[in-house]
Symmetry: C2
Subunit: 431 residues, 2 copies
């Protein structure tokens, strides 16, 4: 028999009680916020058919998939030539592919439009690094069946409200549209088939800078004139003094003016509506709405609006999403308007932990230290007393009193037990 292993498997982790308290609190706040917008909870299995996980909907995440080994007679190791012979299912790498399958399977039983909350684990075999885990929690909301931008407006308002309810402020919601990215490429005269590559380079603007993007595009043999024209587009952003402080719709207007006819009017109108309505509806909510023509979002399935949460405390995105009107049709043959927003739960938790977050209105805690040997009726009376306190809303821990009572009380105090009571075999000594 192999030796037992104390550590969790590579890249996954055990969660300690102090973090769990924060995770559960945040999950409840996020879920409660989304429920207040009329979203309903659903759950899909963490295991998904391999066909669905390898349908190119998952982009690079498909390469990071964990596969499940076939079982019993289905497993023919001697005949197997490749992974597909050994496996017909895998662990999901996101919640979007399973949700689309779910909608395709249950459409008739669901409200139309269908507004879903899905909170659950996804799995990716990424190289272990800070804040990235091979099992991680995602909190997604999605709206199926709403073609108008009411979907985007609601997703942005609900998600920023959830973050606000967690105590975050000063974050940005950055908005763009895949069709605007397309218009930018067309305007610049890039060949149509280079669009994906142009987006991949633009996506790195933050990291490699304008010169870096220029270098990458040149390296791919794209015409210098197009590259110039493309990068020139962003001058208007830099020119706009206080770019981040101007209303997003105004920045969009200036940017769109440069694109002229390359940008279809309906796309501009749609994005403008989203930006102005969110701006008005958010009232004095402490986040900033930004139009960001450099926002790309990696997933190839997006068909329209895309958006991302940026936190000043954190380099990368803490959430994001967009419209993906084509995915359900992959399952059913009929496209259904679909739009989602995913909160990067692990990053949110990491930020809160780093800030020393404490739960508001945590229940009061009492500890009963019961001397060894206290038993029978005496013990049951003490347990009843604990129960009476619980009915008053307190958390009551009943444990044996240690010989090193000082250490025990200190441990308890560190965990928020301010009320500590001692019970002895002889009730007269109780304290």
């Amino acid at each position: 028999m192999a030796d037992l292993v104390k550590k969790p498997v590579t890249g996954m982790r055990d969660i300690l009680p102090s973090e769990m308290t924060i995770r559960n609190y945040c999950m409840n706040v996020i879920r409660g916020t989304y429920e207040s917008y009329g979203f309903v909870n659903i759950e899909t299995p963490v295991v998904e058919s391999l066909a669905n996980l390898t349908s190119k909907q998952g982009g690079d995440n498909e390469k990071l998939m964990f596969r499940i080994l076939k079982r019993g007679e289905k497993l023919r190791i001697d005949e197997a030539k490749n992974e597909d012979d050994l496996s017909d299912a895998g662990l999901r790498y996101d919640l979007t592919v399973p949700l689309s399958r779910y909608y395709a399977a249950h459409q008739a039983e669901l409200m139309n439009p269908f507004k879903a909350i899905q909170i659950g684990s996804s799995f990716r075999a990424e190289r272990p690094q800070k804040g990235r885990f091979r099992q991680f929690t995602q909190c997604d909301i999605d709206i199926f069946g709403e073609p108008s931008n009411l979907a985007e407006i609601e997703l942005i308002l609900a998600t920023s409200q959830a973050l606000t309810n967690l105590g975050f402020s000063g974050f940005q919601v950055r908005v763009n549209d895949r069709r605007l990215l397309r218009a930018m490429a067309d305007y610049s005269g890039f060949p149509a088939d280079s669009f994906d590559q142009v987006c991949i380079s633009l996506d790195k603007l933050d990291k490699i800078g304008r010169d870096g993007v220029e270098g990458e595009l040149s390296g791919q043999g794209l015409p210098a004139a197009s590259i110039d024209r493309y990068l020139g587009l962003f001058d208007v952003m830099e020119m706009t003094e206080g770019y981040g402080d101007k209303p997003a719709a105004q920045v969009l207007e200036q940017f769109a003016a440069r694109l002229g006819d390359a940008l279809p009017h309906l796309v501009l109108e749609n994005l403008t509506e989203i930006l102005t309505t969110v701006e008005e509806a958010k009232g004095d909510a402490g986040f900033q709405l930004v139009f960001d023509p450099t926002l790309v979002r990696g997933m190839g399935y997006y068909t329209g609006t895309i958006y991302e949460i940026a936190m000043p405390q954190f380099g990368g995105a803490c959430g994001g999403g967009g419209r993906y009107d084509g995915m359900v049709g992959r399952f059913t043959g009929t496209d259904v308007p679909a739009c989602g927003f995913s909160i990067g739960f692990e990053r949110i938790i990491m930020l809160l932990m780093e800030q020393g977050f404490t739960i508001p209105d945590a229940p009061a805690r009492t500890a009963f230290l019961i001397e060894k040997g206290v038993a029978g009726t005496r013990l049951s009376e003490i347990l009843k007393e604990a129960d009476a306190l619980r009915r008053e809303g307190r958390q009551v821990l009943t444990i044996r009193r240690m010989k090193n009572t000082k250490f025990q009380k200190q441990q308890l105090a560190e965990r928020g037990f301010e009320d500590i009571r001692e019970f002895f075999r002889d009730a007269e000594h109780d304290a």
Copy 2:
């Protein structure tokens, strides 16, 4: 590319919103109850090292394990001879093995005694059948580091309180001890090495009856005199008129009298203490405590007390657990007292769904039906109005008004939206 699959993978299932509402409610009630007893939440990965999952701690569940295929260079399909060459990790089949690993890894950071809540998914490749799924949720509490029966007493009280808080009453908590089962076999004169087999047969008493057990034991070549003596033990149970209504400790006393010296005094004293203290401490709680010498519990890792929840509405057990003082030592070399109680969450949910359970104090629901084309400032004013209602604690759904408004209103009414408001492009028509 393979065709996409609409159905969930075999034996797993999608959960619809109506069930999710009940699941989340129950999970919160269970978690909240356990927290009120001072238990703390933890989480372990669903993927576990193969060495830990094949250490014989999981009994028959090990055979039902899903394995994860190795990735990248570690996967050598051409050289593979068996499953162990293809896989070094699997999906957990219970929460107990991962919890023991967790405790072994993090002992120094945890309170002593450590009282843990673990709610999560486990996976078993069982043949699909009603109420059995290949992915299922378990709600476990465990106490590590408490050698006295205060652990068992608390686990039984907390678990029955959780079920009571869910509205269950009239259920039984059946209690036994593996050492008493051993004493019964010794008393009967069975050979020591037949103990496991005797227990496996006894465990079927419910299903195959006394004659069936007798047949099985004879079939294994066990001495007829021993079998007679063994089955004779249960006469005292049948003799005890109103067996289920007598205090459990009294039934135990009568039963133990038959066993005489075969039953170590400390085992009897321990079990008696548990039964009397729980009986006294439970007060008027609506469950029944039962001593059941035919209770076996399958898992080989139990070392002492064992217990089970039986519901009159349901044939099998709705939860169970026991003491397993030897498991942490498998990881660390030093045994640690350990005791747990697991609620069969899927069965609880199934029972509640069958009873047409509705959530107490569900939030009031309002639906805003917004005419197509309502946009801009008019839309943001409506969204602000929805938000004001949300701050009052209502759930407010904002969706487009359908042409078939009658159908839409009916769908909404079925989902608990009693307050439906309509908004038109011309505000004067609002209703």
